[in-house]
């Protein structure tokens, strides 16, 4: 296990702990946000994004390069039809099940075994898009 993977693992532990602490590993709480009964999720997303904003835009500028080497690259995506259509499809799935990729995986650590079915379905969904995209690329 190299140093990079150890840091990713430690960061993942904090990430998973925060998801559980905030209740996001509970699909029922996420659904109560989406039904606008409990707006707490905004503070989870906002708190996480605000801290990460400081890391990416202030601390990283000061450090100049990652501590274990390499380069800092802000996360960039182009606005595209696929980005928007994908977000619509993801939104339907999120609203139906209360699961998103990170919270579903972390939820396994709370003993929430039914979510294994949701994670298996996420792999199948990711595979379906990969299958279609591979076909488009080879044409």
């Amino acid at each position: 296990m190299n140093k990079k993977n150890i840091m990713v693992f430690l960061g993942g532990i904090l990430f998973g702990f925060g998801l559980a602490y905030s209740g996001m590993t509970k699909q029922d709480i996420v659904l109560s946000f989406l039904q606008l009964k409990d707006l707490g999720l905004i503070f989870v997303l906002g708190g996480a994004a605000a801290v990460t904003f400081i890391a990416i835009n202030i601390i990283a500028k000061y450090l100049k390069a990652p501590i274990l080497g390499g380069d800092f690259k802000p996360r960039r995506r182009k606005v595209s039809r696929n980005l928007i259509i994908g977000a619509v499809i993801f939104g339907i799935g999120w609203g139906l099940s209360g699961q998103c990729p990170g919270s579903a995986v972390a939820s396994l650590g709370t003993g929430n075994l039914p979510v294994l079915l949701g994670i298996a379905a996420m792999f199948i969904g990711a595979y379906l898009w990969g299958f279609l995209d591979s076909r488009n690329r080879s044409e």
């Binding site: 693992f9 960061g11 532990i13 699909q27 708190g47 619509v88 990729p101 579903a104 969904g125 299958f131």
Partner: protein
């Protein structure tokens, strides 16, 4: 609006942000989740979508991230959690069908709640902002339609 208070949400969000920041500042990697499905599938599918160089390069550390997420939630469950081990009451067909759409949609959109929502917004990416507005808006509409149809839990 906040039957459980704001603190658990805000504190949890800050801890998530510290985890994502720790990974970024030490390695330069964005600790986002939905790519995990694609990079992990590269071990078993030879199709070009999965065999892209980027996926092969990321597939190791993304397994460490996913394992960390599970261990972190387990630590919370065994220590501070008021409820301990917990199982959702949401019906299995909703988890399965929802999961399928989440897997397909997040990969088509190239980001999820962590990718577009945390790292994307923190990077001030306009594309991620649009994605978050769309998936959150659609999810709110969907969850309310499901509720109106009397589907619960």
């Amino acid at each position: 609006m906040f039957p459980l208070g704001i603190e658990p949400y805000l504190i949890g969000g800050i801890v998530i942000g510290i985890g994502v920041s720790l990974v970024y500042l030490t390695t330069g990697l964005h600790a986002t989740q939905s790519s995990f499905f694609t990079t992990t599938l590269s071990w078993i599918s030879k199709r070009i979508h999965f065999q892209k160089e980027r996926n092969l390069k990321e597939r190791d550390w993304r397994i460490f991230l996913a394992t960390g997420l599970i261990i972190g939630a387990l630590i919370h469950t065994l220590t501070l959690s008021p409820t301990g081990f917990w199982t959702t009451s949401v019906q299995l067909w909703r988890l399965a069908l929802g999961g399928l759409l989440v897997g397909f949609g997040t990969r088509l959109s190239r980001g999820c709640t962590s990718g577009h929502g945390i790292s994307g917004l923190a990077s001030l990416s306009k594309a991620s902002l649009y994605a978050v507005i769309v998936f959150m808006g659609v999810a709110i509409v969907t969850a309310n339609i499901v509720q109106l149809l009397g589907i619960s839990p």
